[in-house]
Symmetry: C2
Amino acid sequence: MQTVRIDLGERSYPILIGSGLLDRPAVVAQAVAARDVLVVTNRTVGPLYLDALLRGLEGKRAGSVALEDGEQFKTLDTLSRVLDAMVAQRFNRDACIVALGGGVVGDVAGFAAACYQRGIDFVQVPTTLLAQVDSSVGGKTGVNHPCGKNLIGAFHQPRAVVSDLATLATLPARELRSGLAEVVKYGLIHDADFLAWIESNVAPLLALDLDALTHAVRRSCEIKARIVASDEREQGQRALLNLGHTFGHAIENAMGYGEWLHGEAVGVGMLLAADLSSRLGWIAPADVERVRTLLERIGLPTRAPVIGAQRALELMGMDKKVLAGRLRLVLLRRLGEGVVSGDFAPAALEATLGAHFEARAA
Amino acid sequence: MQTVRIDLGERSYPILIGSGLLDRPAVVAQAVAARDVLVVTNRTVGPLYLDALLRGLEGKRAGSVALEDGEQFKTLDTLSRVLDAMVAQRFNRDACIVALGGGVVGDVAGFAAACYQRGIDFVQVPTTLLAQVDSSVGGKTGVNHPCGKNLIGAFHQPRAVVSDLATLATLPARELRSGLAEVVKYGLIHDADFLAWIESNVAPLLALDLDALTHAVRRSCEIKARIVASDEREQGQRALLNLGHTFGHAIENAMGYGEWLHGEAVGVGMLLAADLSSRLGWIAPADVERVRTLLERIGLPTRAPVIGAQRALELMGMDKKVLAGRLRLVLLRRLGEGVVSGDFAPAALEATLGAHFEARAA
């Protein structure tokens, strides 16, 4: 088992990474200190891993609630269901919510922990690669609004993250690939060596080779940890983690959440960010092709849906990372160095959107 | 205009207290720095003061939303309405929510500010005495759950509180009295001299004498400021502010929120806390009578509704101030000194509940 520490003063916490952690009750028991525990999971993950998790909670007062599976259930109504379960158990401020599942479960459960009696303890047990490398780390929680993703939420750090890599064995291949998009993101924004390592390890990663997975999850968490520690509440640097996300949210929003997986939309979004960075002369066209090739080898889509450039722009304008009415995007100064910038010609952005979101001749 | 400062490091903020502040646009403009502003009010207060407030926001992009008036509307559904209004205005993270109204408006609007895009600015313009001396100060925000008050919420400090005492001229007398219950609370838990001052100034306070009101609001805020600064997230001392509230919540819950006003329930709750403190030998029976007499002179109820001792206890058990399954209450070591304690014989509590919540011979 390896440990990455998120350094946030009194809100610091460990990320435990290893295979078979859920089968080691001592690991679970140590991560969850509270006596009263509500496990929030979904109907797909629950049948697979809930029993193992509950064995680690033996001797505690533990309840569970299984949400519907899917981004479309990341709503205030679902939040309400979790809060109802806490009230039904008569749990008080000393209770802990444990999220067992992917990003949706973690975001909803974490927001419930942030709100219940104005804030209680929270532990993440992510069971998707996406959640293990991204959403379980950093304290962002929330639900979607019909008009935009994650518009309602809170910053609420977990007490611990338990990433059992063995759970990836039951993850659909498409979701594994989607998670790898976020791994690529860390290479692009922060670490050219890591990017090259990913390029050399696509096959072992897709084959769930444990050494490769461990390195990918560990290095991703280290990079996220460093960025989050420098900017917990996203005043500046932390926005780098949104590479590809503003474009990606437009895709998810236009297609309906759940139609495109988050990582798929972010993958195409990173390609658009690279395209725009290239039009600005920051990176070479060959760098854009390098990104495209890596995404293709992973098995991720590299063509945006034809939603129209104007519609895409509108949807990006609704994105919450709009600063003082001016669109800011995460772009690439070079491969391995992201930069948050509103300093680009609107025409360059329009060219990128036109090239990707409009119908093309075959 | 007088100013009380809440000292919370980078979350510090001023409480501005005076008569006619809403008619001074410069005061409003200084308190609300943002360019985009949503004013949240209700259908009773809006027609009286919204226009004046909006004059102070001239030159900004300001929208407003009027909630239904009443504690029964302090729900997740109402929160959702405020968030919808923010999205409809396409407001981003730089926007500010201004709460114009009493405690319900402030709690819902503050929680919306805490949640919208994971936290935006927030200014309180309380128009009830209860909100001016209590709920607008200290950063507690939230909504009710069908099973309990304020079970869902966040700590989110405002940027400023603007307390215009002139707004109390339109406050129903019953609500003024209800607010005075919280003023009495500050005397009971922290300041025997202030308690004596209140006893000497019941008539001027009820007549809305400006000097008396200013002193009552200012001193209440000072005491709350000191307690909140020492314990922002209610780990210890801050619980003193809940004198009478655990008993009071049981009354509000049993009778249906809104039937008894919050201050009325808290007033009777303080009397029960005094009764129990007297049974423990901490204060004299004469002290209990002194509390009862003051509440009577203010025009507050001093008889609990006949809901049965057992039912009251159950409702208290659901209260969120239950610590590790053990009931803790705010009691009085003497008049002017509150203490948070779980250290009382259950029989003494039962005697207090029996004496107040059971039917009595005429």
